[in-house]
Amino acid sequence: MKILKTTLGIVAIAFITLTIVSCKDGKKEQNNADGNHSEMNHDNSDGHHDGEKKAISMSENGSGNTQDVLDDYFSLKDALVADDNAKGTELGATLAKSFGNLDISKYTDTQIADLKDIIEDAVEHAEHISESDIAHQREHFKILSKDVTDMVAITGTEITLYEQFCPMYDGGSSWLSMDKEVRNPYYGSQMLKCGKVQREIN
């Protein structure tokens, strides 16, 4: 028992000593920092590279069509209507993937630029949905819905869509549905039928 205490004591002292020593070093380094600019410039473009990589893999894998995206979007919407957080998580990930796979090569340059922006933003929101509680999922779903609506405005759609609108959620929020009948993804069972059809898209 005594030996154990001693050992633990040594560990604790080692930890504290290291902390103190490191703090001292830190102060010294701060004083030198001004003269050392060139040495410290390695890591400046990290975020950049990530972005480039994503963009490349997006165009390489591009094989999906907008209908895949819409299908996954509607499944996600239904999960939110059903207050199903777990399913929303799963479908968020699926939607992120189908957005990433979207083939946009057949559009004009300006359309491609717009679609790239939309996809980049939508993937981010879908990924967030795949790792959040339901309140957060709904927040992200709102912006995601705008992204999908803007995508459809460029790509068009084979099926008729209804843009629906709930004036109560977050100062008024819309979403897309294949059915005319309103099923509210922002409130679920709490206010299932709140909202109205705002526009028909085909």
Binding site: M1, T7, I10, C23, M40, D43, H48
Partner: protein, 150 residues
């Protein structure tokens, strides 16, 4: 009892050994043209607030605390910074599309409103990064204006 002693020794040795694995730091003292402050011409009060409360994890330049010299603390901080930068990098602001800017500003407002950011684990060690109710209102009002002007 003997087992505990062995474990304690192993822990000590492991602790010493991992000190020899350095981590690369997120430091860069130059301000790029794409920086949030440069692009938006942010008023100095808001600029200060954001730099103190956000820039350690959301820019290419972290002001490390002294205990970053110790492992596994440095690993832990490195992961946080990496995640923070992937989510939002103020230095890269000018490179974001308007759509993404809009999304980011929205998230900034929500997270500050809900007290999710700056994170508790961060303000615990950085008391000056804490936003008072007054600070929050100021920052949110500014960010909202910026968002509406996009």
């Amino acid at each position: 009892m003997k087992i505990l002693r062995v474990i304690a020794w192993i822990a000590l040795v492991a602790f010493i050994v991992i000190q020899f694995f350095p981590t690369e730091k997120n430091t860069n003292y130059t301000t790029p043209k794409t920086d949030f402050m440069v692009v938006n011409n942010v008023p100095s009060k808001i600029e200060n607030q954001l730099k103190v409360s956000c820039y350690d994890c959301h820019s290419n330049n972290t002001e490390y605390p002294c205990y970053n010299k110790i492992q596994p603390v440095a690993w832990y901080l490195k992961d946080h910074v990496k995640e923070g930068k992937a989510e939002l990098n103020f230095n890269e602001w000018g490179n974001y599309s308007d759509r993404r800017k809009n999304s980011k500003l929205r998230s900034i407002i929500k997270q500050i409103e809900n007290g999710e950011m700056p994170m508790d684990s961060y303000t615990l060690m950085h008391r000056d990064a804490m936003l008072s109710k007054y600070d929050k209102n100021n920052v949110i009002a500014y960010i909202t204006r910026l968002k509406d002007s996009l």
